[in-house]
Symmetry: C2
Subunit: 346 residues, 2 copies
C-alpha cells in the first residue's frame, strides 16, 4: 500500500458553531492531516482548541495565513470568505466555502456529495457548500429526481436557532428562562442580527430567516429556490419555500410537497430512499416513528418519513425531512467534500 | 326598545383549557345570560369558578343537568359530546359542540361565522365548531374563495401545545425546565395522550397530531381536508395538510399555499383581506412585521401576512396565517355562534 498523502488544512471560523463541528469531524473521521491551522477573527484569536489530544491556538486569519495550506474550510460569514478565499486560492489552496458568498457564482460548483460530487472537479479554487435547508432537501429528493423526475417542490421549514450561530442559541435559552420565570422576554439577535427589528423566538415561530428580497421572499427562501435548481442542474423545477425559525436548538425539519413527472408507487419510493446513501427512512405509523429534530441532532444522516401520496395530485408526494443543520447541513457536507478531494489526490 | 331575552347557558368542560376561555368570553362579551351552569366530569366537580364577581360551583355533567338549558357549549372531548349532547337536545337546548364528534355528520352544520353563518339555521339541535387549525385557515381564505375561486390548498402547520389541553402545556413547560437544567426529558402525554409512544416536545417539532389513519395522514390532517371542503361547501378543493406540534404555548401558525382559479393582483388580495371581518393583515417587509403566535395570543382575530405570489404557478399565492387556537380556533368561534343564536331569538 502506498503512503497516504497528508494535507495542510485550515479551518476559518474555528470558534463558530459550524467551525467547532468541522474540527470535531476532522478528528472523528481521522482526516489525513499534516498541519491543522485554526483561524478566526482578531477577537477570537488566542483561544485554545483541543484536536487529537493536542492544544492548538487559534490565529487571526490574514491572507498570509494560507501560505502552504492545501485545503481551507471557510465558515466565518460571507464577507470573510469574499475577503480571504481569493488569497487562499492564490496560494494554491482549494477552498470549501460554507457561506453564501460564492454559491450562485457560475464558476463555483455547489456540491452535495450524494447529488453532484462529479462537479467538484470543475472547481477553480472554490467549492461552495449549499445552505443547510437546501442540502437536506436535495439529498432526500435526488433519488426521486433520478427515477421519476421532479416538476415542482413546495417546502415549509422548521429551522433550528443554531443555524443563526452560537449567540442565537444563547439568546433562545435565555429568553426561554425569562419566559418560564414569567419575566419580560428581551429579543436581541433574531430574526436577523443585522436588522433593527427583533422578535421573541422562545415559544414562538418566526417566519423570517435572513433579509427580505424585493419579490417578498426572504433570502433564505430564495437560497432554497436557486440552490436547488443549481445543484439538481435543472432550472425547470419550480420551487417555493417558506422558511420559519422555531425554538429548536439543533436539527432542521422540513414539510415537503413534491410533484413527480411520472407515476410512482409509494413502496418504490420507500425502497429507493432506504437504499440511498446518507438517507435513513424513519416511517412507521403503528410505532409512531418519524424523523424528529431531537433524534437527528448529532447524527450525519438525513432522516425521511411521513411518506404519503398527495390526496389531490396523483403524482404528488409529501415527506418530512429532518437533519442536523450543523452536520449534514454544514460541517459534514463540507468535510465530505474535503474527503473526496483528499481521495482524488491519493 | 324591547326587553332582551336572557338565556340559560351551560358550559360543558368548564375546567378545561377551552372551557375557561368560553367562560371568560361570555363574561367579557356580556352574553345575555339568565342562568350559567358550569359542568365537568365527576373529577373536576366541586371546583369554584368566578363569573362576573360571583363564585359558581362546577357540577358533574349528567343528562339531567340540561333541564332548562337553552344553549350548551361543549368542549369536554368527543365522547362526552356523544354521550350528553343528545340529552341536551332532547331537553330543548341548542348545542355548540367544540369536539370532533359531529363535525362530519351530514345533519350537523359546521360553522365558521365569517364563512357560513347562514348554515346555523339548518341545525337539528347541534352545531359543530370546526377544528382549530381549520377555522383560522378557512376564515382567511374565504374572501379569496369568493373572489377568485380556489382549486387547491397545501398547508403545513406550526401548532401550539395548548391545542392538546392544559396538561400538555404543563408537560412542555416541565420538559423545557428539565432540558435547560441538562436533565433527561421525560415525555408523558404528547404527541397523543391515548397512544403508547411519547416524544419530547421541548425544543422539538413533532409531525404527529392525533392518530394515524390508513391513508398515512393523521386525523388532524384529515380534519383540515374534510372540514375545509364542508365549510366552504365545495368538495372539489384539493387540500393537503401536514400538521406539526411545535413548542409554542398559544397560537397556531400556518404556512399556506393556495392555488386560485382566476388571475389575481397581490394588491387586490391584500385589500380584500384587510376589509374582511375578523382578519387582520400584518405584512410589512421593511418593518419586519408579520403575524407571530406570541402577538396573536389572547386576541380574537386571524392574522395574515407574508403574502407573496408563487414563483412557479401564476395563480399560486403563499400566506402565513396565525391565530390563538383557544380563541378563534375554539372558544371565540363557539361564542360567536352562540351570539348569533341569541340575536336571532331576540
Amino acid at each position: 500500500m502506498s503512503e497516504q498523502k497528508l494535507f495542510n488544512v485550515a479551518v476559518v471560523g474555528a470558534t463558530g458553531a459550524v467551525g467547532e463541528q468541522i474540527i470535531g469531524l476532522l478528528e472523528k473521521r481521522d482526516f489525513p492531516i499534516n498541519q491543522l491551522k485554526l483561524l478566526s477573527s482578531a477577537r477570537s484569536a488566542g483561544n485554545k482548541i483541543l484536536f487529537k489530544g493536542r492544544e492548538l491556538t487559534v490565529e487571526e486569519a490574514t491572507p498570509e495565513s494560507f501560505e502552504g495550506v492545501e485545503i481551507a474550510l471557510f465558515s466565518a460569514g460571507g464577507d470573510v470568505s469574499k475577503a480571504l478565499a481569493p488569497h487562499a486560492v492564490e496560494r494554491g489552496a482549494v477552498c470549501i466555502d460554507n457561506t453564501n458568498a460564492y454559491r450562485m457564482d457560475p464558476e463555483t460548483p455547489l456540491v452535495v456529495p450524494e447529488v453532484n460530487i462529479d462537479k467538484v472537479s470543475e472547481h477553480k479554487g472554490i467549492i461552495a457548500n449549499p445552505n443547510c435547508s437546501t442540502i437536506q432537501m436535495v439529498a432526500a429528493l435526488k433519488p426521486l429526481y433520478d427515477r421519476y423526475g421532479i416538476s415542482r417542490i413546495i417546502v415549509s421549514t422548521y429551522q433550528a436557532v443554531s443555524g443563526a450561530g452560537s449567540k442565537a442559541i444563547d439568546e433562545m435559552l435565555r429568553q426561554t428562562r425569562e419566559a418560564l420565570e414569567g419575566n419580560d422576554v428581551k429579543p436581541d439577535i433574531l430574526p436577523v442580527g443585522s436588522l433593527p427589528v427583533k422578535h421573541q423566538i422562545a415559544f414562538n415561530a418566526i417566519p423570517q430567516i435572513d433579509k427580505f428580497q424585493d419579490n417578498g421572499y426572504t433570502l433564505e427562501e430564495m437560497k432554497m429556490v436557486r440552490e436547488t435548481k443549481k445543484i439538481m442542474g435543472d432550472d425547470a423545477i419550480d420551487v417555493t419555500a417558506t422558511c420559519v425559525r422555531v425554538p429548536v436548538v439543533y436539527g432542521h425539519s422540513e414539510s415537503v410537497y413534491v410533484e413527480l413527472k411520472n407515476d410512482y408507487e409509494l413502496e418504490d419510493v420507500r425502497k429507493l430512499l432506504s437504499d440511498a446513501p446518507g438517507i435513513v427512512v424513519v416511517d412507521d405509523m403503528d410505532a409512531q416513528q418519524y424523523p424528529l429534530a431531537t433524534d437527528a441532532a448529532g447524527k450525519p444522516d438525513v432522516f425521511v418519513g411521513r411518506l404519503r401520496r398527495d390526496l389531490g395530485a396523483p403524482r404528488g408526494l409529501n415527506l418530512w425531512i429532518v437533519s442536523d443543520n450543523l452536520l449534514k447541513g454544514a460541517a459534514w457536507n463540507a468535510v465530505q467534500i474535503a474527503e473526496y478531494i483528499a481521495i482524488e489526490q491519493n
